[in-house]
Amino acid sequence: MTDWMMAIAILLPVVSGILILVVRNYFARGVIVVLTAIALIANSLLFAAKGPLTYTPPPGFDWATLIAVLDYAILITYLIIGFKYRNWLVVIFSATQFLPLLYFEFVMKAHAHPEPAFFVDHLAIVMTLIISIIGSLICIYAIRYMRDHEEHLHLTKSRQSRFLFWLVIFLGAMNALIFSNNLYWMYFFWEVTTLCCFMLISHDKTKIAIENAARALWMNATGGTAFILAIIYLYSTQGGSAGLSIQNILSGHVHGAAMLLPVALLCYTGCTKAAQMPFQSWLLGAMVAPTPVSALLHSSTMVKAGVYMVLRFAPAYAGTYLSSAIAIVGAFTFFGASALAISQTTGKRVLAYSTIANLGLIIACAGINTPLSIAAAILLIIFHAISKGLLFMCAGAIEHQIWSREIEDMEGLAAKAPLITLITAVGMLSMFMPPFGMLLGKWVALEAAYKVPLAAIFFVLASTLTIVFWTKWLGRLLEVVPKLGWPLEKLSPSYSVPLWTMFIAVFVVGFGIGPIYHSFISSATGNVISGVNAIVASNWSDIVLASTGLKGGATVLGSFPVWTLYIILGIALLLPMLFFGLRPTQLRQVYLCGEQSGGVDTDEWLAEADVKTRFILGGYYFQGTVGEKAMNPWVNTVAILLLAVMIGCGVIIR
């Protein structure tokens, strides 16, 4: 049973990927993707039902050698990419991984096989649910999206198979990454995701796509370098193979004065992958890729691997300066990215900055390192995956309606595409409005934040900025002329199924937070904090609750009084009812000082010499204050300093 579950989670995507690559028919390919998606979703639910487990592949096949060989294959691919596109940064940072790896294998003659190879605790289960369900839905969405995409580009030779191949493999690699207990294997899967990411970003093969993909590659390769250095360090100081078992690291079996440096390096690795400042440019560059890539990178894969890493090692740095440093690094990114998001004129870049900001928040929560903040981090991972996956799919669908990504071009979308606007609006509101989940996560985060006051202050500023950029964008969508009757647009099932599923999920998960908390998040929090073998920690929810000093009658999430939630729930239930209340009976023109030129369905006015002129409204972007040109130099400088302090804290032992 376990054999099969692990095989489906990790190997099935690979097999399906190869099938997709071979099959050249649009429908057959679609069927394979859909079947894989169903299998992955069912399998992840099975994991959830079965609970924590550990797993080592049965002897008989030499997986270790295969992984070692593939490791070299990936790094050689990096080198080839670097030389082919003459990107020396890629070459340098592949070499800095390649040489230590050779040293590790051949000079140290390392034999890195701690047992068990995989361990699936509650946190990993939460992650696999996100990866398998949301990731699979995005793959389904990509079937149709890529066809439209290629039609728009007028390609003669279809490259959809290649695209779907990397997309599906990505899911397998992510599953393996979060299940790994063997740090050395985790490193391999880490590199697979980096490679998938490069291939997907560079998919369109335009100059800018390749440039940006290469940037993603070298930035993540610096993380990979830190990863392999941490492995070598752990292996040589912590008793060989046993030192590479994540369980051992977390449970303190190999804890010692020298432990903090490799953990700091691993957190740095996590920060590169989670696109924390100053590495935000790779995730922004990734926006040139077709939208399913962005959806996948932002919601369920890649960046979530980064935050997973930082969160996973939370007990290893609990109570140290490193922990506070991580909190401040994340909180600063939350603040900086939220401010930068205000200045963005492109929808997808706003989404990207918002992702970077929220990842910062999650990392900050890991750094604050109390039961409540860890619970907040897990909540945020879940809600962010749903909302952001939905929003990117919306962005793609909007792009295929109006063939633009600019916010100004989305003006009045509510009249042109009411359905997508509705879904997008709910997606946006779910990022920051009650009673949706993200707000809940931010709330818990703020409740926990006082332990690191500087982080708390950044949280305050950033969450205000968050309100501004979402409202601003949503306002552009809603701006319509008072015309009666909006025809609904038609959506292909490959769009509508994932979109509506996620739409419903936003509500279900938002309202069902109580049960979800009790069945997943409390035990996942327990797993993170205890860091011990997954199976032990099941009664942690009580400790989480007790430690936050709640009063009697409070049940959900520590200090949250139940009826506060009821108020919010009540609002949520009241709102739809209002639609049947006082509706406007007549529509009139807006006030234009009496200079209108016609009825309610026109936006023209009589300008000079009574010439009919269409009036134009624009959004505010404050480029001078929070634009990239104004902000980037100092934001990046501060971020680099903070990262240096963070790694420095790894050397200070407390």
Binding site: V481, G549, T564, L587, V590, F615
Partner: protein
Amino acid sequence: MNEFILVIATIVLAPIVGGLLFGIDRRITARLQGRFGPPILQPFYDVLKLWGKETIAVSKMQFVWIYCYMILMIASLLCLVLQADALVLVFLLGFAGVSLVLGGFSTKSPYSHFGANRELLQILAYEPVLLLLAIGLYAKNGTFMISAIISREEPMLFSLWPLFIALLYVLTIKMRKSPFDISTSHHAHQEIVKGITTEFSGPFLAIYEVAEWYEIVLVLGIIALFWANPLWVGLLIAFGAFLLELVIDNIAARMTAGWMVRLSWSVGLILGIANIVYLYIRRG
């Protein structure tokens, strides 16, 4: 059951108090300007008249947002009355503001958009101060629950006075008084007409007015928290703050939105942050 009565009482009484305050405001302002002024009950007459009008709108979405504005405002006030989590209160108040902004945005109208953009900047100006206030409460009491403030013997004003000063200009912004009557104004200003409320009419404008009544009660209530024991001192302070705003309104000129944000993000945040850092260090 007690809480239920409290909820109903708040929903019914708060607008009456708020409306009276607005009536007093108009009367005092008129006297300050050498006019006689309307009767104290004038705000109620206005709203009743608006309520009886036809439901005419400029957009099909607009009315949803104005409802949201009022309901979130009430929810926020309930958080105060029921002594709930201060963070939730601030969040709800912020989202009430967002709803109003979206109401302003939901039609293609130049004046409405001016107002909506400026209202958004107002949120940018006051939201961090309110959130810092919540954190200040936590720093003082070790919890975000408002009930903890009520049960304290010593008034918060002594240790949180910098935040109190910051809160005073939040009150100015919230009351839409000079120098911060930026997104809309009690007087028609040429360049924005009526700003964000330009396109609201009839019952929808009435809802907006009622929401404003709830809002003034809420903000004054937050101010009263600074001297919660005995509460009547706090209420007197709040009423004093209200009168102070009227004086400021009549002696100050209207400023720009940029100036407001800069002021808030410099002076206001420095006051708030200094306050919190001081409390953090003192607690160790």
